[in-house]
Symmetry: C2
Subunit: 183 residues, 2 copies
DNA sequence: GCCTGTGAAGACGTTCACAGCA
DNA sequence: TGCTGTGAACGTCTTCACAGGC
């Protein structure tokens, strides 16, 4: 069992917050008792849409892209990278295979649409230089890939129905610098 | 010149929002005209505390850590990585130097405090496995490094006066999965 | 008795609408 | 005229406080 107060403490938030947020999606707890950890975990996974495997592609196999290729925490959460693309696959394959200690398949970006269909790719991860990010996003849209995780530090526009989430860690760093400057 | 409406459009937000946010820090625009781009940029940099060089250390030189070592966008924004630490520097140096195409100094974590003082490190970037993140944070605190950028997917606790900012891109991915599941 | 679920209150951030000024 | 700066209105998120149920 776990109580909303315990969960709140772990996450450094208010206990009422935890209860309200969960209550938004249904009734998962038992009054006077708390939440069954196992059930709660399953319920949260279901709510987040993590009760299925998400098939992803990484586009742009530089340092960051290849770091993601070997990122082990993805598997724990039902995320799976099923393809890697680059504008210069031949050059990249050698470097990355050596780095990761195993052969890696890197496909030319021109084959994105075809491979996306064959491998049922649902999420595209953009790790190209910012100058290429929008055109890669356009290719992803064209391939019908509705979810985009963008690591390139630039704003990307997509049509209605497609979703972009940015991972701008330099913005978070800017925030840190601001807080350090004023304390 | 640039108007709040133009800025708002670029960032996909409301124009009043842009004006309110800027006005919070002072008066930077000219009524009936707009903002001088050059002045505004300088003002924003000053507000964020980016008018000085921030000296950073990366702790944990795995795939992600070494990707950060060669991340070029840091320099553009006055961030500088001045040291890299690992629990196993000898093993790491060879692999990373090869990857980055130039020799890289990786220092044993036990020397953190000493090196932090000598190189005036102000921000620590944690890219270790999650199991080591808290103990690395403790070392950073002990070394008087007040700012921490945490890439390890785990909650870190630090004393009053120290600041931790998390970069949990799997959380952003979870958010993307949720939005895709419900649309 | 104890902890969840939840209306009500409060805090906060966003948007509107317009006065003020170049 | 045109766009900033800003009080007021509005909406949303957070917290309080307690009824409800095990």
């Amino acid at each position: 069992m776990v109580s909303s107060a315990q969960l709140a403490n772990r996450c450094s938030v208010n206990a009422a917050q935890v209860r309200k947020d969960l209550a938004y999606f249904g009734e998962f707890g038992i009054r006077g008792v708390g939440y069954y950890v196992k059930d709660l975990l399953q319920d949260i996974k279901r709510i987040l849409g993590l009760n299925k495997e998400w098939r992803m592609a990484v586009i742009g196999i530089g340092n960051l892209g290849s770091a993601l290729l070997s990122y082990k925490d993805f598997l724990k959460q039902n995320y799976k990278i099923v393809a890697a693309f680059d504008i210069n696959p031949l050059e990249v394959i050698e470097r990355v295979s050596e780095k990761l200690g195993q052969p890696v398949e890197v496909i030319h970006i021109s084959r994105l649409k075809e491979v996306a269909r064959d491998r049922r790719i649902e999420i595209g991860i953009i790790t190209t230089p910012p100058s290429e990010a929008q055109s890669v996003a356009n290719l992803l849209v064209e391939a019908g890939i509705r979810g985009i995780l963008n690591f390139a530090p630039t704003q990307i526009k997509v049509p209605e129905g497609y979703i972009v989430k940015d991972v701008f860690f330099t913005s978070i760093l800017d925030n840190l610098a601001y807080l350090l400057s004023n304390s």
